[in-house]
Symmetry: C2
Subunit: 138 residues, 2 copies
DNA sequence: GGCATGCTTTACGTTTACGTAAACGTTAGC
DNA sequence: GCTAACGTTTACGTAAACGTAAAGCATGCC
């Protein structure tokens, strides 16, 4: 048995289509240590693990994180801290990341509130204008 | 009356300190059309309006928006759409921005959930190790 | 009056995150 | 045997968001 095909596997173009990125980007993420596909000769073969990682990458990007930050977060998922000191440091990183996300949540809530206000105003203004137009036409 | 000092006013360094950015960044935002301070001769004088704008800029950056996107959002606050077609377009932009923010919220909730799991595991592991250490020491 | 402090403009440098092009290999189908 | 589809490496290009350095003006103060 040459290749264990029990797992799901993906070519680079396939993955690119699924996540809406270019193959160039995927190779770039590999350069930066975010992905580590197997090889079939020269060709890259992506398994379930890299599929998950790419999902994490895309999510991280939507949240505005840099690739460095995203790699740090991915490393958190993979980490298996053996020493207690490492473990404490690890937990510290988790908490820092959570606080940042919570701060983002607050920012979003604020912003959504303001957009709501703006839209309510605009809708009212629009309704007013449309009714005038109707009157004028009637 | 040369200068109306009824409003709050800020120098560039002052503003930079308050928001934790460099004066270079503040000038850069002006170049990009995000700020438009008055002048006292050569010197920039910032009022309440630019103070607010800078707050919006920083919030936008925390949320991972580009300066272009941030300017679009700021323009939303300032816009006074006179035509109905403009108004509708404006409302469309508001809604698009809100959907993006909601998507970010979902991403954050997901991520926070995963970080929670990781931290719970880690805390358990840590407690285990510490208790063993205590036993060994006792 | 000379020096420090704070501001100004101009301009080149840097990092991040890819885009784009060149030149090449390999497998499938006609 | 050719070409189309898919992949590869190498390398230069680019947009965004500033950093950094150079050179100069104005003001306060000792």
């Amino acid at each position: 048995m040459a290749l264990d095909q029990t797992q799901q596997m993906y070519g680079i173009a396939e993955l690119a289509r699924e996540f809406g990125v270019t193959t160039r980007a995927i190779r770039f993420y590999e350069d930066k240590g975010l992905l580590s596909p197997d090889r079939d000769g020269q060709r890259r073969i992506y398994g379930a693990r890299d599929h998950v990682r790419l999902r994490l990458i895309m999510r991280g990007k939507r949240l505005g994180f840099s690739l460095d930050e995203i790699r740090e977060m991915i490393d958190l998922y993979d980490a298996d801290p053996s020493e207690v000191s490492q473990l404490k440091l690890f937990i510290g990183k988790l908490q820092a990341r959570r606080e940042q996300l919570r701060s983002q949540q607050e920012d979003i809530v604020e912003t959504l509130g303001e957009l709501d206000r703006l839209e309510t105003q605009s809708q009212a203004l629009l309704a007013d204008r449309e009714s005038r137009r109707t009157k004028a036409a009637g």
